[in-house]
């Protein structure tokens, strides 16, 4: 709310001064005094006199009356009528759309001055005519903005929901659609008011608007122009008034829009600039090790309230030719861990601690240039949404070829041929023809195959797949998982598969890491973990899967937010086995052969 005060006060001040003009002790704005023309200062005239010796301050304040009145009334008329037409056109389509949109187009076809001339010829000059002309001129903007917004709002589920409740059309339009299109309309209003003040001065300048000697800012600018060299300040005062008014209006409209917007997030907290320096200048020496060895990986994001850790002390290792699944609910930090390993963390986040050794070399402390050579080369990533990961304006064959040429020095022709081979390799029928297709011409499954083709283009030794099948249908998912399994077998890749589907884990992975609230809570071979889960969270997660004959059981509550983690075991508030001791201190990850579990009571409660 505080954001409203300053611009609100400014606009209120301008309006009050303009309204109170007749009451203020000022000289008559029309009275001429040729003897004192262009005087810079006179007693009672702090801003001096204009070319006819009239008091400038007085004319400025009286001018605000006509300028602002014209601008506000014209914009308000245009806003109400235009939004109504846009709403009706966007909602009912058909004839209403035709009338609203084509009507707006007709108005847009006329040059503003021509339209003004036409109206003035018919009605004679004056303030009322000016308001009419300006409101007609700004009408199309409001129609277009509200029409476009209604079109996108009407397909939203929440509008469909109110419709399904049988709400009368008027109620839907006023209670549901209007508040949701209000933001852009308000912005349009502030622009219209500002532009109307300027246009008013322009039209008055041409003699089509406010009739002299009635003061208006437009007429003042026009008058000052001829004497610019003798009295430059005469031009400055009305311009300053104009600028101040328009600025105040724009800021006020922005503030109103943000406050009217109840979606939250509008006032998102700004993130402090995070130092990119990595701690641990002397990492432990590399040992001959698995393909990927992650130890104590911690990711930090600095927020105004302190530092949150979306990934905390995550350790696992992966050998060549094996698949490791990282599984967890949304908000568990599984994707963040993968992006940290790839060096693709968002700017606000940094890998604060731990090591991630890829073939013995620490990815976290590697110079970005070296890491870039690895990415897409020796290690590759497949994302959840293939549509947003592919460039929509390039043919898919060219995109695959580009991935090849980014890492290897081959000719365009050779890369193209290789791209076609790769497309064939990932099971795309008729690869020659499909290579010339654009992403939107392919189905979701096809696009994911293209993404995989790009990922394996340079024979990576490590593939990180972040929810690669979540957006796909089950039959397509089965085909993609099959493809990944074949590629892994034939190429000997190590695969890190990030997923929330325990069924997928059971089908394709050998090892599993279960994450909850940024931490690893259980780790081990899939067959053992799923047959005999040690952590209550793993057990609850398995019981929630609607598979088999038992009724699925939900886990009460939700994953806590990173800034509200419980002091002890993070799962304790949702755990059926929690005791006092669980809330006292954070439990450590206990190793047990090739398994590990983070629970102080696992021995008592494991079956």
């Amino acid at each position: 709310m505080r954001r409203l005060y300053l611009p609100g006060l400014a606009v209120l001040f301008i309006c009050l001064v303009a309204a109170a003009a007749p009451l203020l002790p000022m000289p008559d704005p029309i009275r001429q005094d040729v003897a004192n023309r262009l005087a810079a200062w006179l007693p009672g005239s702090p801003l001096g006199r204009d070319e006819f010796g009239r008091d400038v301050l007085s004319r400025l304040i009286w001018g605000a009356r006509s300028s602002l009145m014209v601008a506000f009334i014209a914009s308000a008329i245009a806003a109400v009528v235009g939004t109504a037409l846009g709403l009706l056109g966007g909602w009912f389509r058909g004839v209403a759309e035709f009338l609203a949109i084509r009507g707006a187009d007709v108005v847009l076809c006329f040059p503003p001055v021509l339209l003004a001339l036409l109206v003035v010829t018919l009605l004679g000059p004056g303030t009322a005519t000016l308001i009419l002309v300006l409101s007609v001129l700004y009408l199309p903007g409001f129609i277009r903005v509200s029409f476009a917004e209604v079109l996108s709002a009407r397909n939203q589920d929440y509008v469909e929901a109110v419709r399904a409740l049988g709400a009368p059309t008027m109620r839907i339009l006023l209670r549901t659609v209007l508040p949701n299109i209000a933001g852009p309309v308000l912005v349009q209003f502030s622009l219209a008011v500002a532009a109307a003040v300027v246009l008013e001065s322009g039209l008055s300048f041409l003699g089509l608007g406010v009739v002299p000697p009635t003061p208006s800012w437009g007429l003042m600018i026009r008058g000052a122009r001829s004497t610019m060299e003798q009295a430059p300040m005469l031009l400055v005062w009305p311009c300053v008034a104009l600028t101040f008014t328009i600025l105040a209006m724009n800021i006020l409209c922005d503030a109103v829009r943000d406050i009217a917007d109840k979606r939250g997030g509008g006032g998102a907290k700004r993130l402090r600039l995070v130092d990119r320096l990595l701690p641990g200048l002397f990492p432990p020496p590399a040992s001959p090790a698995p393909l990927l060895d992650v130890q104590g990986l911690t990711v930090e994001i600095a927020v105004p309230g302190g530092v949150i850790k979306p990934v905390e002390d995550v350790s696992f290792s992966l050998s060549a030719g094996r698949t490791l699944a990282i599984v967890g609910e949304s908000g568990s930090g599984k994707s963040m861990a993968a992006t940290a390993i790839m060096g693709l963390l968002p700017p606000a986040a940094r890998a604060a601690d731990g090591v991630a050794r890829f073939e013995g070399e620490d990815l976290l402390r590697m110079p970005e240039a070296q890491r870039r050579r690895l990415r897409g080369g020796a290690m590759a990533m497949v994302f959840q949404d293939p549509m947003s990961s592919l460039n929509p304006v390039h043919r898919i064959g060219d995109q695959v070829a580009e991935a090849i040429r980014a890492h290897r020095d081959v000719t365009a022709e050779a890369a193209r041929r290789e791209a076609v081979d790769l497309l064939k390799r990932v099971g795309i029928a008729d690869p020659e023809r499909r290579a010339r297709a654009y992403p939107h011409e392919l189905s979701g499954g096809m696009r994911q195959r293209v993404m995989i083709a790009m990922a394996i283009a340079n024979k990576p030794r490590l593939l990180i797949a972040d929810e690669p099948t979540t957006a796909l249908d089950v039959t397509v998912q089965a085909a993609i998982l099959e493809l990944l399994a074949v590629l892994r077998r034939e190429e000997g890749m190590g695969v890190v598969l990030i997923t929330h589907s325990l069924g997928v884990v059971a089908e394709v992975a050998e090892d599993v890491v279960v994450m909850y609230a940024a931490q690893v809570v259980e780790r081990g071979p899939v067959a053992e973990v799923f047959a005999r889960p040690l952590h209550p969270y793993t057990r609850a997660l398995l019981a929630a899967v609607p598979d088999g004959d038992a009724e699925p059981e939900g886990i009460p509550g939700v994953v806590p937010r990173p800034d509200q983690w419980p002091p002890g075991c993070r799962f304790a508030p949702r755990c059926a086995h929690a005791t006092e001791a669980c809330n006292a201190a954070p439990p450590a990850l206990e190793g047990q052969g090739d398994r590990a579990v983070r629970c102080i009571r696992w021995r008592e409660i494991a079956p």
């Binding site: 589920d157 399904a164 709400a167 508040p179 609910e329 998982l481 099959e482 929330h500 019981a543």
Partner: protein
């Protein structure tokens, strides 16, 4: 089973391409589907994207006017969308959407949104509406104290509960749940499915449960319809369809579902090729282009749904006996 509440006969929905310049054929999203939902029954509709299952849900609700066939609700044909009779009927039907974020208006308080049905359809005063809404909040497991809050303050699972509360405000007889748990984490899914099952039992709701997740349908529904490209491939009691699928598409769908214990899953069937375009479906059986058992005869005529026994388990495949 009691009397049918919703009966669709050969219902059909074609979407004509819009605009003057848009060429091409109309898309038949639903092509001649029969479906009945009895009072208190839960009918599952499964199928993949483009199978027409969501369109079928909106046809049964009368949110879309069918371009062919008929839908009857409680013995009466559905009135024209937008008419006074249609609006009155809204009180007896509810819908729950898939997307817990897009289905609530971000700019209105959740209390007002859940109350909408009462405001529109009842003559209760503000205090009575408030009281009923509070009861609804408690019923779906939310704190009535938070009625003044806005949707962004709630998690996905809680929003889905709000969506259910909104749909149930007018005590409808028929509820369409369009993938209500697909966007939720598995631990939250089970909570919401359980809530729907309880509500169905307590209120005697007839429910159409649309999903691509077969195991969820198995736990929640009495009967199931399997759709592919706008047509019904197979229908019958849930236990039978899942234990002994008759249609090759159902077999592929079941085998593709990842299971915790892969040993329990049938031999995986990977479907060859791509789903055909709904604007240009194959002749005869629409599934034949991807079917491992297709014969030239499959291209000749659209196979009718037929019973192989007396259990109400029906299949649209001319080779069901040989394959099974």
């Amino acid at each position: 089973m009691t009397a049918p509440l919703v009966v669709a006969e050969a219902v059909e929905m074609s979407f004509a391409p819009r605009g003057i310049l848009a060429g091409g054929r109309p898309v038949r999203a639903v092509a001649g589907v029969d479906a009945t939902v009895a009072k208190g029954e839960a009918l599952g509709v499964v199928g993949e994207s483009g199978s027409g299952k969501s369109t079928l849900g909106r046809l049964l609700l009368g949110l879309l006017a069918a371009t062919g066939g008929s839908v009857r609700f409680d013995g009466e044909p559905l009135p024209k969308p937008g008419s006074a009779a249609w609006r009155k009927l809204r009180a007896r039907m509810g819908i729950v959407f898939q997307d817990p974020f897009g289905s609530l208006d971000a700019r209105r308080s959740i209390g007002a949104q859940v109350m909408d049905g009462l405001t529109i359809h009842t003559t209760l005063n503000a205090a009575e509406r408030e009281e009923r809404t509070a009861a609804l909040f408690r019923r779906v497991g939310l704190d009535p104290q938070r009625m003044g809050a806005y949707p962004h303050e709630f998690s996905g699972g809680q929003r889905q509960r709000l969506g259910i509360a909104r749909a149930l405000a007018t005590s409808p007889d028929f509820l369409v749940a369009d993938e209500p748990v697909s966007a939720l984490d598995v631990s939250i899914q089970a909570q919401v499915v359980k809530l729907l099952a309880e509500l169905r039992g307590d209120l005697g709701l007839a429910m159409l449960f649309i999903s691509h997740d077969l195991p969820v349908v198995r736990h929640l529904c009495d009967r199931v319809i399997v759709m592919y490209l706008g047509r019904v491939m197979e229908e019958g009691p849930v236990a039978q369809v899942f234990a002994r699928p008759l249609h090759p598409y159902t077999v592929a769908l079941l085998s593709a579902t990842p299971m915790l214990d892969p040993a329990k899953r049938a031999q995986r069937v990977i479907l060859p090729g791509e789903p055909p375009s709904p604007s240009n479906p194959p002749s005869g059986c629409v599934f034949r282009t991807r079917c491992l058992h297709a014969r030239p005869a499959c291209a000749e005529a659209v196979p009718p749904l037929r019973s192989l026994d007396q259990s109400g388990h029906r299949v649209a495949c001319i080779r069901a006996e040989e394959i099974g």
